[in-house]
């Protein structure tokens, strides 16, 4: 097994995440896309760790932090979704352009 195998998957996930982020109208869907991107990073980190085998498994540690932070972000994101949904009765991001220029 080569690291690149995993990196390719990660790159694909990351790019798909970006795609999703750019096209999805629903905020929750956008959040899903973000999760894809963060997960791609995790795959990177773990794959590198598998190749490096550092003494403290730094890559895995890093990925644990990323997972935790991602979870927190989801929490925050959903809270924001709830907040705006209550005010606007919509979770579509392109409904939100009160402020521009």
């Amino acid at each position: 097994m080569m690291v690149n195998q995993f990196l390719l998957i990660a790159a694909l996930l990351f790019s798909l995440g970006v795609y999703g982020l750019l096209v999805r109208r629903n905020v929750v869907m956008v959040l899903l896309a973000v999760e894809l991107m963060l997960n791609a990073v995790n795959i990177n980190l773990v794959a590198f760790e598998a190749a490096l085998r550092s003494s403290m498994a730094v890559g895995q540690i890093f990925s644990l932090f990323v997972i935790t932070v991602a979870a927190a972000e989801v929490g925050i994101g959903l809270a924001i979704v709830l907040l705006i949904f209550r005010n606007r009765q919509s979770a579509n991001v392109d409904d939100f352009d009160l402020m521009k220029y």
């Binding site: 970006v18 982020l21 750019l22 096209v23 991001v93 392109d94 939100f96 352009d97 009160l98 402020m99 521009k100 220029y101």
Partner: protein, 690 residues
């Protein structure tokens, strides 16, 4: 603490001439330069509360000046005086390692003493006269203050020991003339005339200023004595710039001395009160140019004069030509003027042409002598004209006529002045004009000499016309004219005397006892002038001049003395002396009319037309064009172009800002797109750059 004024070190004048120092009088001559200004301040301060509205101060100052000037004049007669005083007013940098300085000061030598005398003498009389003339007029106080400024500036000019101070006096004269010409500024014509005078002079001043710069920076010094010495010694550097400097200075002189084509301001300048005209035409202002030429005479005589500038035309030749055109062409114009002051004004221009021609041709003494004599009789004529105007309340000769009975003093003095101007022996004008003819003859300008003779004819002709129309025939104006008060007639008489006698100051070969003659008096300079002096009068030339003068009078008399419309005028024709001629009046009249008709008609009209539409037109046109150019520059270039660029930049940034803030769509996904694309582009740029 050092004294504010640091007296420049005395330097012995150069040259072979042994001259006296002039003693205390010369050391204090500067007082004459200052007194009129003191009077000016006093008039401004207290004038309104004085009985004669401040004229007292002006007259007082002028009287003191005249005393001093007379004393100097006499001492200069006894022994030639040369004395300079210099007060440094600034060091302005280095020139060849030594300080380049500006100075004020005065020079007391033959030339300046003559000018002091003329200015003070004529000035005093004009001031006195003005008390009467201006009585009850508007702004009398201000008028006398300005007169003081005028006379004072002229004294500063003629007393100056260096070019810089000369410029100060020079433009001071200009400003004073502006103030005086525009005395009745409620009418736009008057203020326009004042502006015209100032601006035309200012144009010429460019020449003076640049000429001063050429001279000053060639010598590292602005003093006349340095210039004179360098010119006589043939200083190489000065020689290098001599033509340029000479022409520039001459250009300056042309403005003040109203040489063709810069004479145009002068007739308009008649807008001022008559005493101003008298002062301006006799003693101050117009003589300044001649004075400048005389002051820098060694430059022309030794260096500049013979430098060829256009083909074989040399500097001197150019100057003579300008003078000749002025003397003849402008004289003709006097023939067609109805305004008596305009007649006199053109006459002045013409006489200035004589002076300029003489000085240019190399006749230092001749030019100055004519200046000297002319000052008296021209002042006399103007004051006389003023007296008439005062009486009839009009400037136009068509409103006058037959005044000789009502105003006898004026008539007689005016006649004396006219005869002197016409060059009738033995009045002053005869001698000085003769000297000019002699000089032109000697220096080889025969053609010009004949023009000068012709000019003499014209001069006599128009003066006769003026006298005839004013004092003979019948009165055509309104009211009953009276002789002017004695404060006005006294100056007339006082001027008539020298108009008669001063010609004898310089009869060739004649010396006034131990006092020498005019030639020696004005020859008292730091260096010899090197002009030619005839040892005896050349009666051949004198006869030509006299004949021309008499001819002019006779022809003039025949025409104007026998004014067909006025019985009185026809009566006058039968003056016994002229009677034989008048017997054949038919031929004579026709012949004279033919000749003069041509001169007065097409020629004069042509000249007048050229003057009005070409020269004046050019000047007015230049003014209009310049103003239009101003509009173009301001509206077209400044507001649209230069400012437009900056406003354009501002407007551009504004709309760029608008365009850029359009990027801020408010859609978060557009932002994210920008975000990712930005990141990718950054990578791309950096990778490509690396």
């Amino acid at each position: 603490m050092k004294s504010v004024f640091v007296l420049a070190a005395e330097e012995a004048p150069h040259g072979a001439v042994e001259l006296a120092s002039g003693g205390v009088l010369a050391q204090w001559a500067g007082l004459m330069l200052v007194l009129p200004f003191a009077a000016f301040l006093l008039i401004i301060w207290r004038g309104k509360h004085m009985k004669y509205k401040g004229a007292e101060f002006a007259i007082g100052a002028m009287a003191v000046n005249l005393v001093m000037a007379t004393a100097l004049f006499i001492s200069n007669m006894v022994e030639g005086i040369f004395h300079e005083e210099h007060f440094e007013i600034a060091k302005i940098g280095l020139w060849e390692g030594k300080n380049l300085i500006f100075e004020l000061g005065w020079v007391v030598d033959g030339l300046s003493i003559m000018m002091y005398f003329v200015v003070s003498f004529v000035g005093l009389l004009v001031f006195l006269y003005a008390v009467g003339y201006m009585h009850g007029d508007v702004r009398v106080t201000w008028f006398f203050a300005s007169l003081c400024l005028f006379a004072g500036s002229m004294l500063v000019l003629v007393g100056s020991a260096n070019l810089v101070q000369l410029i100060i006096g020079w433009e001071g004269v200009g400003v004073a003339s502006y103030l005086l010409i525009g005395h009745y500024w409620e009418q736009k014509e008057n203020s326009s005339a004042a502006i015209k005078a100032f601006l035309v002079n200012k144009v010429a001043d460019v020449g003076l200023v640049l000429g001063a710069i050429y001279v000053g920076l060639s010598l590292g010094d602005f003093r006349f004595s340095t210039l004179e010495r360098a010119a006589v010694e043939g200083d190489a550097v000065l020689a290098g710039v001599a033509a340029a400097a000479g022409l520039l200075l001459f250009f300056g002189a042309m403005g003040k001395s109203a040489q063709f084509p810069l004479h145009i301001w002068l007739p308009d300048a008649m807008a001022g009160p008559t005493p101003v005209s008298a002062l301006m035409h006799a003693a101050t202002m117009v003589t300044a140019g001649i004075y400048l030429m005389a002051r820098t005479f060694p430059l022309y005589q030794n260096l500049a004069g013979d430098i060829e500038i256009l083909g074989s035309l040399d500097v001197r030749g150019l100057m003579v030509i300008v003078g000749a055109i002025t003397l003849f062409g402008m004289g003709l114009l006097a023939l067609v003027a109805d305004d008596i002051k305009k007649v006199l004004a053109y006459s002045t221009v013409s006489q200035l042409g004589y002076m300029m021609t003489a000085v240019a041709a190399g006749g230092y003494t001749a030019g100055l002598f004519h200046l000297f004599t002319h000052a008296f009789f021209k002042a006399l004529l103007f004051l006389g004209a003023g007296s008439v105007i005062h009486a009839v309340h009009s400037n136009n000769m068509s409103d006058m006529g037959g005044l000789r009975k009502d105003m006898p003093t004026t008539f007689w003095t005016f006649s004396i002045g006219s005869l002197a101007l016409a060059g009738i022996i033995p009045l002053a004008g005869f001698w000085s004009k003769d000297e000019i003819l002699a000089t032109l003859d000697y220096e080889g300008y025969q053609a010009v000499m004949w023009i000068a003779v012709a000019g003499a004819f014209v001069t006599a002709f128009y003066m006769t016309r003026a006298v005839a129309l004013t004092f003979f025939g019948t009165y055509k104006g309104h009211g009953q004219p009276h002789e002017s008060p004695s404060i006005m007639t006294t100056p007339l008489i006082a001027l008539a005397v020298p108009s008669v006698i001063v010609g004898f100051f310089n009869v060739p070969g004649v010396k006034l006892g131990g006092l020498g003659n005019f030639t020696e008096w004005v020859g008292a300079r730091s260096v010899p002038m090197g002009d030619h002096h005839a040892e005896a009068i050349d009666w051949r030339l004198a006869a030509f001049g006299l004949a021309a003068g008499l001819g002019g009078i006779i022809v003039g008399w025949l025409i104007f003395g026998r004014d067909a419309e006025t019985q009185a005028a026809r009566d006058k024709v039968e003056v016994p002396v002229l009677y034989p001629l008048l017997r054949q009046k038919y031929y004579m009249d026709h012949a004279a009319l033919g000749v003069t008709g041509f001169i007065k008609g097409p020629t004069a009209r042509a000249v007048n037309w050229i003057n009005t539409y070409v020269i004046d037109g050019v000047v007015n046109g230049v003014g209009a064009v310049v103003k239009a150019l101003g509009g173009l520059v301001y509206n077209g270039l400044d507001q649209r172009g230069v400012d437009g660029i900056f406003n354009g930049i501002a407007a551009g940034s504004d709309s760029a800002g608008r365009a850029l803030s359009r990027l801020q769509t408010g859609r978060v996904q557009n932002y994210a797109t920008g975000f990712v694309v930005g990141a990718l582009v950054l990578v791309l740029i950096v990778v490509v750059a690396a």
